[in-house]
């Protein structure tokens, strides 16, 4: 019975926000694809873009203009800042709730007084968190597939590219969850881990965007995880899918290994 297991506890604790995230993604995908198919957004946006500086125009063209096609819009639904923000909150919440807050309120002390290895706790938390994020990513994939089928025409190529985007999307948030886990296992109890992780995520997001606009810091772009998540490029067959997921997976794995190392050495106050 799932309730009698640690992953069951993780699911029960995070169920509410996970379901909200799933509904939000479905809503965004249908809304974006509905707007694209019913309103002539191309002429509106093109006229606005023509008034912007060239650098900004190129950047917006890369990031957003592609969304003016139907396929691009489907990819944009999974890259929309509000979607990123909501799923990032879900990813940050999982380790913060189950490490930082449980240490703070004393339930970690209770759990670890049982024959439950610290490594096992971190492993089960990481796997459970990954599955929760996978459920959100699969929801994103299915809602995109259904929305395209309803408003347009689903082809095998689009289906495969959407699947790639969803794997990429899942691994991006796995990385966010994993470095939050690393921070939570290495830091003191309380809200510090959540705040720091949210700050790092925002900084990496800004670094990626500013890096595209400002040449002086463009060399920092490879250090942002968002560089390895570009759904529009994947949708148009321009991205490096295998390279991106390899980088994200390795970062997640290193953070996970670091979490086990720190958690096994720390005091549970």
């Amino acid at each position: 019975m799932i309730n009698s297991t640690y992953p069951g506890l993780v699911w029960k604790t995070n169920k509410g926000f996970t379901i909200f995230s799933m509904f939000f993604i479905v809503f965004m995908q249908f809304l974006i694809l509905y707007i694209i198919t019913t309103i002539d957004t191309t002429s509106i946006i093109t006229s606005i873009l023509s008034q912007l500086p060239e650098k900004v125009r190129i950047f917006i063209n890369d990031s957003f203009l592609s969304t003016l096609t139907f396929d691009g819009a489907a990819a944009f639904g999974l890259n929309h800042p509000t979607v990123i923000a909501i799923v990032a909150i879900a990813a940050i919440n999982i380790p913060v709730r189950h490490i930082s807050r449980e240490i703070e309120d004393g339930t970690m002390e209770l759990l670890l007084s049982h024959p439950f290895k610290r490594t096992s706790l971190i492993f089960k938390l990481w796997i459970s968190g990954s599955l929760i994020l996978l459920v959100i990513a699969v929801t994103g994939f299915l809602s995109s597939v259904f929305a395209i089928q309803i408003f347009h025409d689903l082809t095998t190529t689009i289906g495969w590219r959407l699947a790639q985007i969803c794997i990429n999307f899942w691994l991006l948030f796995m990385v966010i969850m994993s470095y939050t886990l690393l921070i939570a296992t290495a830091s003191k109890a309380g809200s510090f881990a959540g705040n720091l992780s949210a700050g790092i995520t925002l900084m990496l997001y800004l670094l990626f965007f500013i890096g595209q606009l400002w040449d002086a810091i463009a060399f920092l772009k490879p250090y942002s995880i968002f560089t390895y998540f570009q759904p529009q490029k994947l949708m148009f067959g321009q991205g490096d899918f295998w390279g991106d997921i390899l980088v994200l997976f390795c970062v997640a794995l290193v953070c996970f290994a670091g979490s086990i190392w720190f958690f096994n050495r720390r005091d549970i106050p």
């Binding site: 506890l9 005091d267 106050p269």
Partner: protein, 299 residues
């Protein structure tokens, strides 16, 4: 080695950064004992308990449970232990039943809370189906006690276990502990309540400012404790003095003495006096414990 020493703490020191948690503490707990661990708030009781369970790692020293090194065999040790944390907080989004199931799951056992325990603590099915966050502090404490006893542990470690329990439930708890002891369980518990320590424990250790300031067998402690003796003489006696006794007050031929330590010498002294009536109060440990606390404060 046959583990007749269930707990062995040797010269353990724990620092939190520069702050001291416990300093050079040593004590043993034998199999089948109920061992009381006493001390004021912040003395180091909870730190010691967390060190025993490998939740904290000692700065120096050696801790052994069941003859095994705590840091090397923590998993095997925790299989044999039941633990009730101080200020017990359960996972508030679970029901009582889910909470017990989760803990059984962690032990990979199918132990269910003993129905007899549940009945004795008045935990009905209705209560167990409620979310823990909707339960009272006392009821949550009962869940804590039951989870500690659930897997029939060989060693029970309890951190101020009667906090939040009403006197009736405290009584039930004391009975349960004595039953567990009769079944061979060793019990280590910290407490502020001297009455329960006096009633339950065979051995005690007193900790203050992170250091053990006293280790006593309860029977010896009772012998050391101050007794109040009131005697009424049949006729006046000049220069009345009794061995080991201090005259506290007198009223006509009635004298009240405080007797510190053994009473053998006192009885010899009394035999020489024209005693018409005598009453001896049961020794109270409070003064003795207070003496431990204040003595070290004055050091």
């Amino acid at each position: 080695m046959p583990p007749d020493k269930i707990i062995s703490v040797e010269n353990v020191t724990k620092y939190y950064g520069k702050a001291i948690g416990v300093r050079d503490i040593s004590f043993d707990v034998q199999e089948g004992e109920i061992f009381g661990f006493l001390g004021p708030n912040g003395a180091g009781k909870t730190t010691t308990i967390r060190l025993l369970l490998d939740l904290l790692r000692p700065t120096s020293g050696l801790l052994k449970l069941f003859g095994m090194n705590v840091s090397a065999h923590s998993f095997q040790i925790r299989k044999k232990c039941g633990y009730l944390p101080g200020e017990f907080t359960a996972l508030s989004n679970l029901t009582g039943l889910e909470f017990f199931r989760l803990l059984s799951g962690l032990r990979q056992s199918h132990d269910k809370p003993n129905h007899d325990f549940l009945d004795r603590f008045g935990l009905s099915k209705q209560i167990l189906h409620r979310k823990i966050r909707h339960l009272s502090h006392g009821t949550i404490q009962k869940l804590g006690i039951i989870q500690a006893l659930m897997n029939d542990p060989e060693l029970l470690i309890l951190d101020e276990p009667t906090t939040g329990l009403d006197p009736l439930m405290q009584e039930v708890f004391y009975e349960l502990l004595l039953e567990r002891q009769n079944n061979g369980c060793t019990i280590f518990f910290s407490s502020h309540i001297l009455m329960e320590v006096e009633r339950l424990c065979s051995h005690v250790a007193i900790i203050k400012n992170g250091e053990i300031v006293g280790r006593e067998v309860m029977a010896d402690l009772k012998n050391k404790a101050e007794r109040i003796i009131e005697i009424t003489l049949s006729h006046p006696v000049a220069d009345l003095k009794l061995p080991n006794a201090i005259l506290k007050n007198s009223n006509g031929l009635t004298y009240t003495f405080a007797v510190d330590g053994g009473i053998e010498g006192l009885l010899t002294g009394l035999a020489k006096l024209p005693v018409a009536d005598i009453s001896i109060s049961k020794p109270g440990l409070e003064n003795l414990f207070m003496k431990y606390y204040t003595d070290t404060e004055n050091d």
